[in-house]
């Protein structure tokens, strides 16, 4: 176990020193262009930890290519640059099926040697993260952090205002909804965007349906499960969610979370990144707000997150720099420094986050206890995920029946299995 107590030793110096030790000094210094979409305050601070450690520990220079707006904005840029034969040195991409074709086309640097040398197979927890980076037995990316979307954030103040006990699970929230409405509180709030509906829905599946149903739907595409009673129940709950969502008029997720923070809404289903918002607002878990893993039902979390890929490059100096960067990203110091700032969990099983909040600790415990499922990103293609998002956006904005939604959902999933 490596503990980094950041209160005693200045983190940057610690990082620099350890980076020196970890990274072999190379003769060739290179400018490495790094593309990512971490542009908000906390995210940028986290990236700065990586960059300064990288520049302190090697002769290379970090040229920052930040582009706000994930997926739709950053992806065409990343792919175009790679296709154009003039790639960046490293780029952020989500774990999952996204980069597979680029790997197949031989456009990504093979990191297998580094992975063996650094014993990543042992270090990376849960294993599925490294699996997502592995293609035909070779490693092509470095997992950097873990984010889990299956959380429900509740405002204790809002429940008190309505004179009811703060809900500890989905059923209690439903039961409290009329009283909350009475008191002028929005029972449930989500930003009105497809991905947020998809987050809510997959949390209903894993939290209320459990692991078997979750895998049956997303991994196996099992028709019996998709068209079965348990999913019918999940869609009935989605209808209940739709009723509780009525009156929502925000788009951005952080505005939905803000409504929970100031007590206008009672609950928001959102990923662990929402915790940063509560922290910024100076709220304390258990006192001002609660975080309920898996809606207070099955405490399963899925482990998606960010990974770095290194496009293959003709320039040897850059290739060296890429390897140095890869080593750094997975080093315990970088893992602690980065994830503390970012509010995500480290990918190594052997580091502790001294500053992790109560909710983050819950997540860490779930990780240790193996209450982990593969993330939806890893299980279905972006194409299917997009269609699911479209369907759910339609469902939550209309009065589509649970039966029709279930049938259309089944068709979308089955079209790709």
């Amino acid at each position: 176990m490596i503990h980094a107590d950041t209160r005693k030793v200045p983190l940057r110096r610690l990082l620099a020193a350890s980076a020196m030790a970890v990274l072999p000094a190379t003769a060739m210094a290179a400018e490495l262009e790094i593309t990512h979409w971490w542009t908000s305050g906390g995210e940028a601070a986290a990236v700065r930890e990586l960059a300064s450690a990288f520049e302190a520990g090697t002769d290379h220079t970090w040229v920052d290519g930040a582009i706000a707006g994930s997926g739709g904005t950053a992806r065409p840029i990343i792919i175009s640059r790679i296709l154009g034969g003039d790639p960046m040195a490293a780029t952020q991409l989500n774990h999952g099926q996204q980069a597979q074709e680029l790997v197949e086309a031989g456009m990504m640097l093979d990191l297998t040697e580094l992975a063996e040398e650094g014993n990543w197979a042992e270090l990376v927890q849960p294993k599925s993260l490294l699996d997502a980076c592995t293609f035909e037995g070779r490693v092509y990316c470095v997992p950097l952090n873990i984010h889990s979307p299956q959380w429900m954030w509740t405002s204790i103040k809002a429940f008190e205002k309505a004179g009811v006990e703060p809900a500890q699970n989905w059923e209690e929230l439903k039961a409290a909804a009329p009283a909350l409405r009475e008191a002028g509180v929005q029972p449930l709030i989500e930003g009105l965007q497809a991905w947020q509906f998809a987050t809510l829905f997959q949390t209903l599946v894993s939290g209320l349906g459990g692991e078997e149903v979750y895998y049956g739907v997303y991994r196996d595409g099992d028709e019996a499960v998709l068209r079965g009673e348990e999913m019918a129940m999940v869609f009935e709950e989605a209808v209940a969610a739709r009723e509780m969502l009525e009156g929502t008029n925000v788009q951005d997720w952080n505005l939905a979370t803000a409504a929970v923070i100031n007590g206008e809404a009672a609950a928001n289903v959102m990923g662990d990144w929402a915790q940063g918002e509560f922290q910024v607002a100076g709220q304390v878990a258990g006192q001002d707000y609660d975080c309920l893993m898996g809606l207070g039902g099955e405490p399963l979390i899925s482990t998606g997150g960010d990974a770095f890929y290194f496009p293959a490059n003709d320039d040897e100096a850059i290739t060296e720099g890429q390897k140095d960067l890869a080593r750094l990203l997975i080093s315990p110091e970088a893992q602690i420094a980065f994830n503390t700032k970012k509010g995500s969990l480290p990918v190594r099983g052997d580091v502790d986050l001294a500053e992790a909040g109560a909710c983050m600790q819950k997540g860490l415990e779930a990780l240790k206890a193996g209450k982990v499922i593969d993330s939806v990103d890893m299980l279905i293609s972006p194409d299917v995920a997009g269609q699911v998002g479209d369907l759910l956006a339609e469902f939550f904005a209309s009065d589509m029946s649970a039966e029709e939604a279930q049938e259309r959902f089944a068709e979308v999933i089955l079209s790709d299995k």
Binding site: I79, L192, Q193, N249, A385, S398
Partner: protein, 296 residues
């Protein structure tokens, strides 16, 4: 004085040379890239374009997608209304400005300035103004009309109104200026004649001036039409396609499928349908423009 007429290929070599950039752009970029798109729309390309042919599968899927159909319907509504309203408003504003008024420059600048702003922000500002709590609805309610309801961004039936409000705000200025320029070219004598004959002004505008301004309308229609077909940024910035799919448009479908959903084949199939639709607009225009009268 040159009376020689050499063979057409060698005549005016400089003129031919000067046209090379245009010819290359037209053939390589516009035709070439369009054909490339059409060809790859028959493949099952995902993240990268790959020539793995798949027949009409992408088109079957496209036309059975409720989102695509909604996109086409939305754009049809938006397109017809934008075209009509831009031309009408542009013409009326221009006619008002043409009444020898004071402060014409000020007004023209006011109506034209949105054209200089990027859509990223246009969307953000209108999101605020149309926000039910912060914007117009909130203001009217605060002023005492408690039951007033105007929340287009969150009502599927009204969301296109929101797009129109912002789109017209952004684009009408240019049309107005073009129309104004056209009106300035209309002969004063026409007005004198119609006044002598006692014809009401609106009738003169409709029956005499509008036909004279035909080329102005054609230019405006090309500009407005190109903006309509390419409508994307404003939707993303203002509504994100929602609520549900009530403000989805084809260009957004193309973009989302090509990049967010990583299904290039599907995106190309959708863009092929868009290219077809453009042909339906452009060919009649070319016939009108070049079919009849010829200069020279």
């Amino acid at each position: 004085m040159s009376t020689r007429r050499p063979s057409s290929l060698l005549r005016n070599p400089m003129a031919k040379l000067a046209a090379v950039p245009m010819v290359v752009t037209a053939t390589v970029v516009f035709i070439g890239c369009s054909l490339w798109t059409v060809v790859y729309s028959f493949t099952d390309s995902k993240l990268l374009p790959r020539a793995n042919f798949d027949g009409f599968a992408q088109y079957d899927r496209l036309w059975s997608s409720s989102r695509w159909i909604a996109s086409v319907e939305n754009l049809a509504i938006y397109g017809i209304l934008t075209l009509l309203l831009s031309l009408t408003l542009g013409f009326v504003f221009a006619a008002l400005l043409d009444q020898k008024i004071r402060g014409e420059n000020v007004f023209r600048s006011i109506i034209l300035y949105p054209y200089a702003l990027s859509f990223i922000v246009t969307g953000l500002v209108w999101q605020w103004i149309l926000n039910p709590d912060l914007g117009i609805q909130g203001m009217v309610r605060a002023a005492g009309w408690e039951s007033f309801a105007f929340d287009p961004l969150n009502s599927p039936g009204l969301v296109m109104v929101a797009l129109l409000m912002a789109g017209l705000w952004q684009g009408t200025g240019l049309v107005t200026v073009i129309m104004l320029a056209g009106l300035r070219g209309v002969d004063e004598d026409i007005w004198k004649a119609s006044r002598v004959d006692g014809i009401p002004a609106w009738k003169t505008y409709l029956l005499v001036v509008v036909p004279i301004l035909r080329p102005v309308f054609v230019t405006s229609v090309v500009l407005i039409g190109a903006g309509i077909v390419k409508l994307y940024d404003l939707v993303v910035a203002l509504t994100g396609g929602g609520p549900g799919n009530a403000s989805e448009v084809p260009a957004k479908y193309v973009y989302d499928y090509m990049f967010a959903n990583q299904n290039l084949g599907q995106g190309f199939a959708a863009s092929t349908m868009m290219l077809l639709a453009v042909l339906v607009i452009v060919i009649p225009w070319a016939v009108l423009e070049f079919g009849g009268k010829r200069r020279g």
